[in-house]
């Protein structure tokens, strides 16, 4: 394993506790990227249900967003009060630099792991991708 990779883990660990990116968190984080300027709670719920074909409680998404903010992967801003929201503003999320890094790391880890699976066994495992 590259030593740089170890370093990142160390650095993030030192800064904050629990920077592990869970599966659900990872998807939400990616969806924030997908939705860009419209990445707020309910839109993320809709996007999640659409893309992942899974039902989710609004509270669960908010909870993930809050965790991701605490970990420093997201930052947010209150904007755009509309009448559909009863005159309330929405919180628009954007991915931070360390958020991007975490996503890259997660992807790299998967790619590395994928690459370690030999073609033969891949066939035997019969992934239907």
């Amino acid at each position: 394993m590259p030593s740089v990779y170890m370093f990142y883990i160390y650095e993030i660990d030192a800064k904050m506790k629990g920077t592990h990116l869970g599966e659900f968190e990872e998807i939400i984080l990616l969806l924030v990227g997908v939705l860009r300027d419209n990445a707020y709670g309910l839109a993320l719920v809709d996007a999640f249900e659409e893309q992942a074909s899974r039902r989710v409680a609004i509270g669960a998404v908010h909870s993930a967003l809050s965790r991701l903010t605490e970990k420093g992967f997201l930052e947010s801003e209150m904007t755009g009060a509309t009448s559909e929201r009863g005159g309330r503003r929405k919180r628009i999320f954007t991915i931070t630099a360390s958020g991007k890094r975490a996503l890259v790391n997660a992807r790299d880890l998967r790619v590395t792991l994928w690459q370690q699976i030999p073609d033969l066994s891949l066939g035997r495992l019969s992934f239907d991708v």
Binding site: L42, A57, H62, S66, M78, G86, R91
Partner: protein, 882 residues
């Protein structure tokens, strides 16, 4: 905004209540937006979905931070920490408070458990709210009866007469039955004959078989589960038969679950009423059946009872005329009473207490006494709390002063002290709960019940208990809280306030109150025990000592005479008598008599009419005042009678010997309708100590009976019993030898009173203990307060004894006031209790003196412990303190 639907209010409020302020807006916004999409759905459904999502925000991330957002909560947390530190700092006083309250609460919980259990009698039947028993109140001439039994034809007659009665059935209690099981005999104690309909009234829970038509045929029986197991083992016995010692076979048609102990009657076996010939009699003047009705839903008992009076004349009239020669109208006009009333079965255990009950009843009076004792225990513990908190005020004064100077509101201080007291109360409650759970087996053995899980079981007492604990914490804390928070900071700081002293008089009142209560309990206990002892030592007109009752003598049949002859030959046997009637409350047999030739109905006397044999008076040590006892060699003695003094008086016989009395109406006793008086026996108490002796006649009927009564001169019971047993086995190899001692049977009558006595003792000791805990704490405090004074006095030459007397003096004054208060109260209450006894002790002043001295002694010991310590301490230590 009119085109937007407002989300339901209450989930929104909830959200505002628990969600962090900085998250609230976006969450509410999202939910609002989401709610708009639910527009097509029906209102309830969209509300439901909305609420579902709201509740999904009950997650840690969204919740308000306690320390962050609420000043009140921060203070609460802080107050609890202070409470804990104070508790540790004053271990003695907190210990007294907590242990006292824990014991008080645990006792109160036990009393609650006991009372709830007593009040839940007969509630387990499916229709218990609609089942009633018929009780009869009758008065004829000077004879009065009020009993739980009613005439045989009543059930059927009333059911056809009154549409409110859905089902009506009868029990006929018959004592016991011996059942053959292979070579041995099994005795089933509770035998009752029963109508088919009574099964439908009670709808007993089944183990095997069915209740439908279970007792319609003769020679059918319903067994309790326990007795089915005793006879048939674990097999399903339905369809099998069992045979009694009289060689009658009964087919088992059903096995029902054993009745819970919370039932006012019990049985081992129910045999079809078809086997009981007397059941079809149409006599309304004879009362032998326990009749129960299942009423239709919505029937008002009082209305139905009122209707009964319309039919008394119809049923009683002809029979009164025929048997007593008096019309119903004349009988009623002459002060007679015929009244049937209905008792809801759930009330029987605590309120009935009539003659001829199916089992021993308790009394509401005892329930009230227990509830009062429970309340007193908690009260005494709460007083400790108030007293110690106010007394310790001086130690908290500086803290209060500083807090006030720093800007604390009075309400904050009140909250603080309340928190402290609730905190202690909750601790005490927890300890109390643990005590209740740990001591449950002891309690069950003590009160003779099988309560399994009173706290967390169906009655769910635990949360009431906790709630009660918190409430007591609040109530006990409110006075000290208000009092302490009232201090003026300037005066505290200047140190010229006599904190704690100004309220000494209030504390004194509470101490007096505590000890008055304890004293009432102590004197009450002493009186209960004295009365029990009084009963035991009463001359009841017969001798209870050295009398053995051999049971099942009726099974000896032809061997009875040789058996008793054999016993009579034993050197240590003084007399042998055979009878079913023993003077310990269980034997009853009423019949109405009048002097022969007296046409006046008012001369009728209801006699206890008992079948005895010639040696009966010898066996029981009864005294003949006039005439002679029976002589089996005189044939005329089969129609002779011995009356007791009361009967002679009631009949108004001047010179009773040789007079004749006759049975009223067409009835006969042992086939005879008239009897010649041959003797008068001194009154002996044959029922209960609660009642006076009634009129009684004894005759010599056929020589048979359930008991063989053996009066002995020996003290060597093991030897005597083994002799009796070997003789029994000689004549009755199959029936097991079983016996009782008369004095034990007699004592068993007063089990309720004895139980009351021992329960009283325990709770009284606990009350005194808690009160003394409080006194201990107060005396420790007083001694501590006067440390300097004691030091100075000692230096100036006061002796230790003088100092102790000085310290004791104050408390002694309080205790004496308590004594003065407690004596009249306990006298009033206990003479009320004693009035329930026909044989009651005199309330001698000694009882009150002994009780008071006992309490004083305990209190003095408690106080002197601390006083002596203070008086003995080195004055230099006391004076350099501060």
């Amino acid at each position: 905004m009119s085109d937007h639907r407002e989300p339901p209010k209450w989930p929104d409020r909830l959200l505002e209540f628990f969600v962090k302020g900085d998250l609230l807006e976006e969450i509410q916004g999202d939910l609002f937006e989401y709610y708009q999409r639910l527009g097509d759905l029906p209102q309830w459904k969209s509300t439901w979905i909305y609420a579902y999502h709201v509740l999904h925000f009950l997650r840690p991330f969204a919740l308000k931070r306690i320390s962050q957002n609420s000043n009140k909560l921060t203070m609460l947390k802080f107050n609890i920490i202070i409470a804990w530190r104070n508790l540790l700092k004053q271990k003695l006083y907190s210990g007294i408070n907590i242990i006292g309250l824990a014991i008080g609460l645990a006792s109160a919980a036990y009393i609650a458990i006991y009372v709830l259990d007593e009040m839940s009698f007969d509630e387990h039947f499916e229709n218990s709210d609609r089942i009633v028993r018929v009780a009869a109140e009758l008065k004829m001439a000077d004879n009065y009866w009020h009993f739980a039994v009613s005439p045989a034809p009543l059930a059927a007659a009333y059911k056809s007469e009154f549409p409110e009665i859905e089902k009506a059935g009868r029990f006929r209690n018959e004592g016991s039955i011996l059942v053959k099981k292979q070579d041995e005999l099994v005795e089933l104690g509770g035998l009752m004959f029963a109508d088919q309909e009574i099964l439908e009234v009670f709808n007993f829970k089944l183990v095997h078989g069915t209740l439908a038509n279970a007792l319609t045929e003769p020679n059918t029986a319903v067994l309790s589960h326990k007795s089915a197991q005793r006879i048939f083992g674990d097999n399903d016995p339905v369809g099998e038969t069992f045979t009694s010692i009289n060689n009658i076979s009964y087919e088992v048609s059903a096995v029902v679950e054993d009745l819970p102990t919370q039932t006012h009657f019990s049985f081992d076996v129910l045999i079809s009423m078809e086997n009981y010939q007397d059941a079809n009699n149409q006599i309304w003047l004879s009362n032998n059946y326990h009749t129960y009705f299942l009423l239709h839903e919505g029937t008002r008992i009082a209305d139905l009872e009122n209707k009964f009076s319309n039919v008394y004349a119809k049923y009683y009239g002809p029979q009164l005329q025929a048997m007593a020669g008096i019309s119903y109208e004349d009988a009623m006009a002459g002060g007679g009473i015929i009244r049937h009333h209905l008792q809801p079965i759930t009330d029987i255990h605590l309120t009935s207490g009539l003659d001829v009950e199916l089992g021993a009843n308790s009394s509401m009076q005892y329930i009230y006494i227990f509830m009062a004792v429970g309340a007193f225990l908690v009260l005494i513990a709460a007083i400790n709390f108030i007293n110690i908190s106010t007394a310790r005020a001086s130690t908290r004064a500086k803290e209060i002063g500083i807090k006030k100077v720093m800007g604390s509101f009075r309400s904050d201080l009140i909250t603080q002290f309340l928190t402290e007291s609730v905190f202690q109360a909750v601790l005490a409650t927890t300890i109390g709960l643990i005590m209740v759970i740990v001591c449950l087996p002891i309690f069950n053995a003590f009160v003779d019940k099988q309560i399994v899980d009173p706290l967390f079981g169906p009655s769910a007492l635990w949360w009431k208990f906790v709630l009660g604990g918190v409430l007591i914490g609040l109530i006990a804390g409110i006075y000290p809280a208000i009092y302490l928070s009232k201090f003026k900071p300037v005066e505290i700081m200047k140190n010229n306030i006599h904190v704690g002293k100004s309220k000494a008089s209030f504390r004194s009142v509470l101490v007096v109150f505590q000890f008055a209560i304890s004293l009432v309990l102590i004197i009450g206990t002493i009186i209960v025990f004295n009365q029990l002892n009084y009963i035991r030592t009463q001359n009841l007109g017969f001798d209870r000592d050295k009398v053995v009752l051999i049971e099942n003598s009726n099974t000896l049949r032809n061997n009875l005479v040789p058996f008793t002859d054999k016993l009579n030959q034993l050197p240590e046997v003084e007399a042998v008598s055979v009878t079913s009637f023993i003077p310990t409350g269980t034997s009853r047999s009423d019949n109405a008599f009048k002097p022969k030739g007296d046409g006046n109905v008012d001369a009728t006397v209801s006699l206890q009419i008992w079948n005895i044999d010639p040696s009966y008076f010898d066996a029981f040590g009864m005294e003949l005042l006039e005439g002679r006892t029976f002589d089996s060699s005189r044939p005329a003695d089969s129609s002779a009678i011995v009356l007791n003094e009361t009967a002679v008086r009631r009949f108004g016989l001047e010179d009773p010997i040789g007079k004749t009395v006759e049975v009223l109406g067409d009835f006969t006793v042992a086939g005879k309708s008239e009897f010649e008086v041959i003797g008068v026996v001194k009154d002996f108490n044959y029922s209960s100590i609660h009642e006076n002796v009634g009129a009684m006649g004894l005759y010599m009927g056929p020589f048979r009976g359930y008991y063989t009564v053996v009066k002995t001169t020996s003290d060597n019971y093991p030897e005597l019993l083994s002799k009796l047993e070997s003789n029994w086995e000689e004549f009755s190899p199959s029936v097991p030898f079983s016996y009782q001692f008369l004095d034990e049977v007699f004592e068993a009558q007063y089990r309720a009173e004895q139980k009351l006595g021992s329960i009283f003792t325990v709770f009284t000791s606990l009350a005194l203990f808690i009160a003394c805990l409080g006194l201990f704490g107060l005396s420790a405090y007083t001694a501590e307060q006067r440390r300097k004074e004691i030091g100075v006095r000692k230096v100036l030459g006061a002796s230790v004894t003088r100092l102790i007397i000085m310290l004791l003096g104050h408390f002694t004054k309080l205790l004496i006031i308590a004594v003065v208060l407690a004596i009249p109260i306990s006298w009033y209450i206990m003479s009320g209790w004693l009035d329930g006894f026909a044989y009651r002790m005199n309330l001698s002043p000694m009882i009150f003196i002994v009780g008071s001295l006992l309490a004083l002694l305990v209190a003095w010991v408690t106080v002197s412990f601390q006083s002596a310590r203070a008086a003995l301490s080195n004055p230099t230590d006391n004076l350099k303190y501060e």
